[in-house]
Symmetry: C2
Subunit: 334 residues, 2 copies
């Protein structure tokens, strides 16, 4: 593989001039520039990234710390981040975060300080004080997706509002006995937004004077989780709610499947609302609150790039809007 010295030699100029010609910075005559770019093309020269990083202090890489991508939200988010970074010609270094503090500690203690990236996007992580300090020590901007942390930009949906809108939709239809599937007890750290969704659900009930009817069925935010919780919830024929709010579409879909198995007609006997607008929501005709994790990923990249280019730019919190998408899993109670 050829170096910039080879290019310079072939073009009959110095390394310095070749570098200027290729980067476009500084004075280079038109003729020289052409000779250099020609030489580079002939040698199919590509700059060595480590050398460039060492010289400039910029790596053109963004580190992304993320839970396992086996949930729709995270895989979509990653897709958005990936697309935006590729468009900006940044590389993406992916770091998994799992339970098990020793790996998490090694990540923050050893891996992240290597200055491999110009900025970090942290997804669904509430860093501890210690971890936050490590992140700061690396002196790289941080954008978090999900939980806010002071001094860094963040993007998230308004979880409270999303759950409130979902619940209000059911109240507007005339429901009074509305259960919520997927409260706490789910996944600990990762379900950062789930608690706020419960809050939104409770808020809507209170506003309608229905707070006494609040019913929480704990469940993991997954299809099997929602299924199991719904089986439990709907098993008792008499105490059955007339409507369900799922903490996310996966849980709501699980509940839909459970209802079908139990012979409960949706929406005539039971209304179900989800939150997400998952790719499978349409197949189940699920009424839901749309959020676009893909766009959130793009937004996170935008905020990060802004802070990379100008570290003094103000910290921003972008909260994306929630839209109700009505399909046919909800109706007035009988």
């Amino acid at each position: 593989m050829s170096t910039i010295a080879d290019v310079a030699a072939r073009a009959g100029v110095s390394k310095a001039t070749a570098s200027r010609a290729l980067s476009g910075r500084g004075y280079v005559s038109e003729g020289t520039r052409a000779r250099v770019t020609d030489a580079a093309a002939e040698l199919s020269y590509v700059a060595h990234s480590s050398a460039t990083s060492l010289a400039t202090g910029r790596t053109q890489t963004v580190g992304v710390i993320m839970p396992p991508v086996d949930r729709w939200f995270f895989s979509e988010l990653l897709a958005g981040i990936q697309e935006s970074l590729f468009a900006l010609d940044y590389e993406l270094a992916l770091y998994g975060i799992r339970e098990g503090t020793e790996t998490r500690e090694r990540l923050f203690d050893t891996v992240l300080p290597r200055r491999r990236f110009d900025g970090i996007i942290a997804v669904g992580i509430q860093p501890s004080a210690q971890e936050l300090q490590w992140l700061r020590r690396s002196e790289r901007p941080l954008v978090s997706v999900g939980p806010y942390s002071e001094g860094s930009s963040a993007v998230s949906i308004d979880d409270v509002a999303a759950a409130r809108i979902a619940t209000e939709h059911l109240i507007d239809l005339g429901h009074t006995d509305i259960a919520f599937i997927g409260g706490p007890g789910g996944e600990g750290d990762l379900s950062f937004g789930d608690a706020r969704r419960v809050e939104g659900y409770r808020g809507a009930l209170e506003a309608a004077g229905l707070e006494k009817h609040a019913r929480l069925a704990e469940a993991a935010p997954t299809m099997p989780g929602g299924y199991a919780a719904a089986v439990e919830l709907l098993g008792d024929r008499r105490g059955r709610p007339t409507a369900i709010v799922g903490v996310c579409d996966e849980a709501a879909i699980g509940a839909t499947i459970a209802a079908r198995r139990l012979g409960i007609a949706v929406p005539t006997e039971l209304s179900i609302v989800g939150i997400d607008d998952h790719q499978h929501a349409e197949m189940f005709s699920l009424t839901t609150i749309r959020q676009s994790p893909r766009e959130q990923g793009c937004e996170a990249v935008r905020l990060l790039q802004q802070r990379i280019d100008d570290p003094d730019s103000p910290v921003e919190h972008a909260a994306t809007a929630s839209v109700l998408v009505v399909r046919s899993s909800t109706a007035a109670p009988r």
Copy 2:
């Protein structure tokens, strides 16, 4: 942030000695080593990765080229790759591959030659001749997951065998009218294994003298895809098959849901087999062929590391075994 020169100064030795002491290569007295490591700890020194890469020619990074992770197989595979790389202290640079040749071309032409990584794992990609040449020019070992390509290691499941075993299971139960959901027409390039699964299905039928009964319902390898194909397939009450092989569990689950909606009892009226052992398979009591993408990811990393450490080590093709997992979606026909 401190450099190795700072560490050396604090320990009262030269840069060279400090480097040797920290890396463990070359002669360093026990006392000196201790002084250096102490100094490094006090300054919380971490080597600058670009500098190390430039000096050694190794980046401690592996590039992973992968389709969108919104399918279970890919997200599990990525998790396996991630885990293994983290354990080996390698970084993971993720590159998405999407339809649209211009991004794909930029990836192969510009991004990959920057020598950012010591090796590449390519998932579900059949590189063109041109692309293969670019990859070779980078002189980095390549391991592919899925399709084989000459001169590089590969891991995959034996797709033909998996589909054959699934089909034979149904034949053994006494089924003769067995349809296959999810043939071609799915996703083009990405469904590299799907064609071989169709092959395995046909092979099993032929071996049993049932080749005339072969029936292919084209479908995307997704839950909605399987659902739609099954609705079509099962709509005609008389011509209905007694058993279905799904190209993957997602498709099989879609078919299961379709059957339930149509009031067709599984397994008494219809048997369904999938391939994957998806995380949701248990919830649907789906009989399936287990493959572990996570393990395939680990295996890919193992093969790659071997070739990074010794470029002359032989090329290997690892095909993982397929195991039939019988749940209760299959039974003898009535």
